[in-house]
């Protein structure tokens, strides 16, 4: 088969169209549509409560949408096992659970299959390599429960990656990390998407840590979403249309501030909604 020409579009890993999701009868997301292609780094940005987790859970099949479709690799999700690696924000383990970091990564290979794991040299080598790649080899033999937030995050990423997924899905990976760990994780994920061709989709409520690596963004607001390339979406006119409220986007030395403007008319405090800038 001849190699694809430049004009041929790369087939997307994931296509979401017209997604509506309600929780306990309340509509949380409406008409969400976007696509994710191999090797893309997409940020799912929204304030707390905007519906990021709900959207991720719907993509994973943990939540039923009320309308719309989620299509993986060109096949509807329910029939075809998706090759997606999921990294939850953190895992809470029983304090007595004797599970080392490398055991957790090994579970990523075949943890979903029935039966008892067979120890094989191949398996252990693969685990070792992956641990090195995410720079987690130093604490490979430590209990997962005793790892710091950033360390655990890296182990979970290794766990998700070892099954060679086409999409890596992360739920607020930076939320509880300090600045340095946050930067390390972002750099690691950037390498994952650029060097391995793995699409990365992660949710966050702050956009600035991701700017160095994030090519595309899905911006959630007011229950709806707008998606596209970062500089196409993070614009005053686009976001104002999304929120149906005046929004300013200010660029300060490469950092972005998104500020809601005041409605016309008085308001007692007379203040703007400001964000926490890094």
């Amino acid at each position: 088969m001849p190699p694809p020409t430049e004009a041929e579009p790369v087939s997307p890993v994931l296509v979401v169209e017209g997604l509506d999701v309600s929780l306990s009868g309340r509509p949380v997301l409406r008409e969400v549509s976007f696509a994710v292609r191999p090797g893309e780094f997409t940020g799912l940005i929204g304030a707390n409560g905007a519906g990021k987790t709900t959207l991720l859970r719907t993509l994973l099949g943990l939540q039923r949408p009320t309308a719309g479709s989620v299509v993986w690799h060109g096949q509807a999700r329910s029939r075809h096992a998706r090759s997606v690696g999921y990294v939850p924000q953190k895992v809470v383990l029983d304090p007595d659970m004797p599970l080392r970091a490398r055991d957790l990564v090994a579970l990523g290979i075949d943890g979903h299959r029935f039966g008892v794991p067979l120890r094989s040299k191949q398996r252990m080598l693969a685990v070792d390599e992956m641990l090195h790649a995410v720079d987690a080899h130093d604490f490979a033999d430590a209990r997962v429960g005793s790892l710091s937030g950033g360390e655990q995050q890296r182990v979970l990423i290794a766990h998700a990656l070892i099954s060679r997924p086409s999409l890596l899905l992360l739920d607020e990976p930076l939320a509880n990390l300090d600045l340095r760990s946050s930067q390390e994780v972002v750099a690691l994920l950037g390498r994952v998407s650029s060097e391995q061709g793995v699409a990365v989709l992660l949710s966050a409520h702050e956009i600035n840590p991701l700017l160095p690596v994030m090519g595309r963004v899905i911006y959630l607001g007011a229950g709806r979403a707008v998606s596209g390339a970062t500089d196409e979406v993070i614009r005053a006119d686009v976001l104002s249309a999304l929120y149906r409220h005046h929004v300013d986007v200010i660029n300060v030395h490469g950092r972005i501030l998104v500020i809601a403007g005041q409605e016309s008319g008085d308001d007692e405090a007379g203040h703007h909604v400001t964000l926490e800038a890094h």
Binding site: R77, H80, P88, P98, G111, H112, F139, S163
Partner: protein, 332 residues
Amino acid sequence: MHWLTWIVEPGFFASQPVRIAAAVGGGAAVVSALVGVFTVVRGQSFAGHALTDVSTAGGSGAVLLGVHPLLGFVGFGVFGAGVMDAIGIRKVRGRDLATGIVLGASIGLAALILYLDTTVHATTGAAQQILFGSIFATTSSTIPLVVGFGSGALAILAVIYRPLLLHTVSGDIAAARGVPVRMVGLSFMVALAVAVGLSSLAIGAILSTALLVGPAATALRLTTRFGHALVLASVLGAASTWLGVLFAYDSYYWVSGHRGLPVSFFVVAIVFVGYLLSGIPARRRNGGRGGRPAPRPGDSPTVPWPRGGTDAPVVGVTKVTEREDVSKVAVG
């Protein structure tokens, strides 16, 4: 050999009831220990205990119906497990309350059935047998039942081992990988019910929690690998049971009047003391960080990404559950 007779009273190894007790008790202990390790790390100790009280009603019912108690223990236990799974409580505290209520209702039911046992059948000793066990009175025909049920429980554990482990780490990850979490959770509860039933037979329904939780918790404190914990728990469980049988046998000779002290008391005491003792070395080990060096300043790694490697499967189980909170298995 003089000192040995202090420990092992005459006739111990030749005694038929002792051999049966060792077989039944040992089998029950091993199955309970293995199931118990999962129970403890999943934080389901209370549910496990509740299931023992549920099976009390089953055992009493079996006596009333003239059926073998083990069938009653396991049968009603499995039914109870299904009910607890169906109630499906989400919040942790809500779960404890519901579990407690089921527990109380089962005990109340057991009380009624035991009462009916005495009035309808005029059987005495049913309460003692069901509640506290009478392993020396077990006949050898029980052994095939124990082997059968025990193997069944172990087979279930072997099959769901990996997805159960993954689910214990993160229910969401498991569900996302296509693990049928509901089925796995339910299967585990069935294995738990069988384990509880076997222990109830050995040391009595309301004491069987000791064999479920004790050796497992002790082993978890002392090991660093999950597989090791499983092995150690089994060893501890079997040893505790056999020692209990030994002491109970010996106690016939210690206590004047040849009354003897109950096996179940010794087993529970040994398990309890064992757990307390394991706290000493466990506290010396500081939090199990596993000898890792201090974290380096993060410089970007130069190790290339893995190439090739395992034939990592990309296709998993396709069934996806549809409940909103699919990651939360009812009693877990």
